[in-house]
């Protein structure tokens, strides 16, 4: 059984101010919790339903959760349809950003599902430093965590940073009026990829800092790609090894 205090703590973590106060966040779902376990993240509380625990003995052995009723997990989970397991972990403490590595800059990305997909995609392509503008959703929001599928534990740094600090980086903005990403070939330079919000694009004050704008060639119809999809296409190109010319 979980205590009244644990109960109250878990519920409070639905809100940003309590996540910050306690430096804790909620993770749900098998895949995300497995990533937390694999990276030795600091575990605090685990709860699961009986029916979940019967089907997932490996995970249950690893986090040894309190068994609660279906009703209880519905009350404690921030999801409309809880997965049957919920864990509370310490928010990772990040050191300073590493200015010798690449960055992604998110400009007013407010949708939690998109933010989660972005983190999952970034870490998959090996980009582990994320700069957030004011107005971005909290990356430890439970909806972000759910769609990030454990990416939080692979980030080396996430937070606010003035783009002007990045003196030696090529600042690349994703913008439909930019030149096609297919011709980008400055693979030896460090870069920071700036993604604007789906609704408003890149903010005016950021546009003046950009060294270059890039776009994905459209072959069909539509106003735009989803921001996570677009970022995936850009990162696939930017993380490619340069093609060595086969000409003699």
């Amino acid at each position: 059984m979980i205590s009244q205090n644990q109960n109250k703590l878990i519920r409070s973590l639905h809100q940003k101010k309590f996540r910050e106060q306690h430096s804790l966040f909620i993770i749900e779902g098998v895949r995300s919790i497995k990533e937390a376990i694999n990276t030795n993240a600091q575990f605090e509380i685990g709860i699961s339903t009986e029916s979940f625990s019967e089907k997932n003995s490996d995970l249950i052995r690893a986090i040894n959760p309190e068994i609660v009723s279906e009703e209880d997990i519905k009350r404690l989970s921030p999801s409309v349809t809880p997965s049957g397991v919920l864990a509370v972990y310490k928010i990772p403490q990040f050191n300073k950003p590493n200015l010798d590595q690449n960055f992604i800059y998110l400009d007013h990305v407010a949708d939690p599902g998109n933010m989660g997909t972005i983190l999952r995609t970034a870490t998959w392509f090996g980009i582990n430093q994320i700069i957030l503008s004011e107005g971005c959703t909290d990356p430890f929001n439970p909806k972000v965590v759910r769609s990030a599928m454990g990416a939080h534990f692979h980030l080396s740094w996430i937070g606010h940073l003035d783009l002007n600090t990045l003196n030696n980086h090529l600042i690349i903005g994703a913008d439909s009026r930019g030149s096609t990403i297919d011709t980008f070939n400055s693979f030896s330079e460090k870069w920071c990829l700036v993604m604007g919000s789906e609704a408003h694009g890149i903010s005016g004050n950021i546009i003046s800092v950009l060294d270059k704008t890039v776009a994905i060639p459209m072959h069909g119809i539509g106003e735009s790609l989803n921001i996570g999809v677009a970022m995936g296409v850009f990162l696939h190109h930017l993380t490619k090894q340069p093609v060595v010319s086969q000409c003699q």
Copy 2:
């Protein structure tokens, strides 16, 4: 004011069997409804709140919706957070698939948000024919429609089709054990890209039909990319113009 019958009809369209019975579906949000208007889709019913209509005079002129209360739209909308405008449109009638064009095959894609992102991404890259296996979510489900952002009106065909019908297509499976997509260069052939579900990959009975499997090179860490992101990367490559060698 909307009638009792319209009220009942809109509510019924939250369910697949009534969407099929009436051949109608619900669209919400400014961007999706604008796509419906631009493509001359067959409009049936529109409702909006007063506060929405005051801020969106263009859209209001185009569909002339009934004004309803915030409470009414909450009751009628399938969304937890309705956008303030909801329209009912005829489900487009599709002719036969065109066997001279490319296809996407979705194998047990059950998540509505992913299906919507897939449709939006496919039509953006000019792939307008989508084959659905059994077990896929209904593409006219309101959650699919919301994340597809009007892509439904750019599809030329969507439905069930036996992959063996595609004699002249290269059947390409997205599979993490496949060869890197970067080396794919059969740009003169017609193809069908098969995307499996995030949880289970491509089904056993489909694997035997594949001509080739392709993967996206991973440079970081993570179990997989989101299916919509992965498809975006594949389609960006597959719809590229082949590079003409610059060697003499």
